[in-house]
Amino acid sequence: MATDVSTAPATGVVRLLGRKSVRHSVQIGVSAVIIAIGAIVTLIPLAWMLSTSVKSNGEVFLVPIRWIPSKIVLSTYVQATQTIPFLIYAVNSAHITLLVVIGTVVSSSLVAFAFARLRARGRDLMFLALLSTMMLPAEVTLVPTYLIFKALGWVDTYNPLIVPSYFADAFSVFLLRQFYMTIPLELDDAAKIDGSGYTGIYWRIILPLSKPALATVAIFAFFNSWNSFEGPLIYLNTMTKYTIPVGLNFFLTEHGSTPWNQMMAASVMAMIPCLIVFFFAQRTFIQGTVLTGLKG
């Protein structure tokens, strides 16, 4: 930038550019400061959570707040896993989430292939129906779905939480379809000449080329399932079958005086898988958010 300005032939232009760039850099500086303050404000709750999670019982209720505890007590994490059977909940959550991720990715990618590549009468109408289900509040189907699962004898099993994911998720289908449409049709034709049927095109052309989109769908399914609360709350009755969110809530309701340090420790542990996935896949994640938010 600076060299550009100095090599400009006319001094008038230099002055103009110079003044403009000074104003511009002041503007950027002010923006950067505001953004940084906002980022700190965003991080404070998390920092406070971490700080609370390593405090002794006494220091939790100290006013004014001591940010760095006089003694870092890591045993709160161990206590938290004893107050509630955290490890069992973690295994349960992992079990459900893994099966939901597989179900969502497999079923949604098949359905998206149909909508992106195969012609059939009424297809556009069906796609419109699919899009409109994204706007349908889940509460409308909440009661009947519960009654169906009850009739099937599935209450207090993981089936109500897992099985629906094998019937494709509208958001995922939409996202994958948009992605599949960007894959050139010539590739399909080439595969057809090589003797591939539709299954071959799906398996050998579409799937290998849409790994980023499939990853996005998998990640969103992971977050939704890992964090979901209302479903497990409704369907699971046996304590040993609880997932982490339901278990954490149990923490709150079962204790007269809330052990905040343990609760923050358990919350940190609950968040760790999400944060790890987020840091490794944030590009994918952010692109997915943009893609679904900007209506393709």
Partner: protein
């Protein structure tokens, strides 16, 4: 020869199309079956149930319009939950929209380290649910929470937040502002998608920064604002987890969100018919509000190329 080929090709093409159609139905079958089992079927059942009394133990009995009459004329809690949801929406949606948009504008200025900031702002959105609810209960704790301690630091005695009938909704609004990372990223992408030549053209016409903002940026970004507004309305009606975990509707029903009241009717009082009627009322309110936003959109949403038919 040519005739034979012709005669053969026509039914063959027909069978090819039929094969493709068959393949479509096979590939789409998970969704098609799912649509019937998890969407269409339950919607029909829900509609029927809304005209019945059903407590799960005794078989459902037809009760005509009783549920609807009850919820519209004889249930103060319906109005209370609509009020709570409405007040929260009026606070959280515009505030969230403005904050997210301003942040996106700031971040769109080639500030250094933008990727890092983006990560930080987005982070709260990925840890949604119960852990966040617990964290905010602790933040909002009147005596030991960080918020009131910070307020005390500047000489303000903080309110009781979740324990106060008048401060519980502002507390939820405040909490919602912590997770504006997702809409912020959507706005940022929208801003980055505005063609540079529009700004250059405006500059040639002598536009300053402010009129470039009002005449280029704002019109180009309205479709996204529009999308986020609809999503926001639907989202407020579905708030459940924070309300259930943090206050369970209290104090004195001051945070009885609609989604929570519906859950209570279904799974605490086992009034399945009444809960279904509540769900349909919610469905029509959301539909009406969405239509209102869509209908009003020609007045304030700008679609490039002049198409006014911007569905989702």
């Amino acid at each position: 020869m040519a005739r034979i080929a012709n005669a053969r090709s026509s039914p063959r093409r027909g069978s090819l199309a039929r094969r493709e159609e068959l393949a479509f139905y096979l590939f789409a079958s998970p969704w098609l079956i799912g649509f019937i089992i998890w969407i269409a079927g339950p919607m029909v059942i829900s509609l029927l149930l809304s005209f019945a009394d059903y407590d799960i133990i005794t078989p459902p009995s037809f009760s005509g319009l009783d549920n609807y009459v009850q919820l519209l004329t004889n249930d103060d809690l319906v109005w209370q939950s609509l009020k709570v949801t409405g007040l929260y929406s009026l606070g959280a949606i515009p505030l969230g929209l403005i904050t997210a948009f301003v942040l996106a504008l700031l971040m769109n200025q080639k500030v250094r380290g933008i990727a890092g900031f983006r990560t930080i702002y987005y982070m709260p959105a990925v840890i949604a649910g119960v852990p966040v609810a617990l964290l905010w209960m602790w933040i909002l704790n009147p005596d030991f929470g960080i918020l009131n301690n910070a307020l005390a630091f500047v000489g303000i005695t903080g309110p009781k937040w979740l324990f106060s009938e008048s401060w519980v909704i502002p507390a939820f609004v405040l909490m919602s502002l912590w997770t504006i990372g997702a809409p912020m990223i959507i706005y940022l992408a929208g801003l980055q998608g505005i063609p540079q030549h529009l700004y250059e053209a405006a500059e040639l016409d002598g536009a300053g920064p402010w009129s470039k903002f009002t005449h280029v940026t704002i019109p180009m970004i309205t479709p996204i604002i529009f999308f986020n507004a609809i999503i926001g309305v639907i989202g407020s009606f579905q708030i459940f987890t924070p309300a259930y975990v943090m206050t369970n509707g209290g104090p004195a029903n001051a945070s009885l969100f609609y989604g929570l009241y519906l859950y209570n009717n279904a799974f605490r009082y086992f009034k399945m018919g009444y809960a279904s009627a509540l769900a349909w009322l919610m469905f029509f309110i959301i539909l009406a509000l969405s239509l209102l936003v869509v209908r009003s959109s020609p007045y304030w949403v700008y679609y490039e190329g002049g198409r006014g038919d911007g569905g989702i």
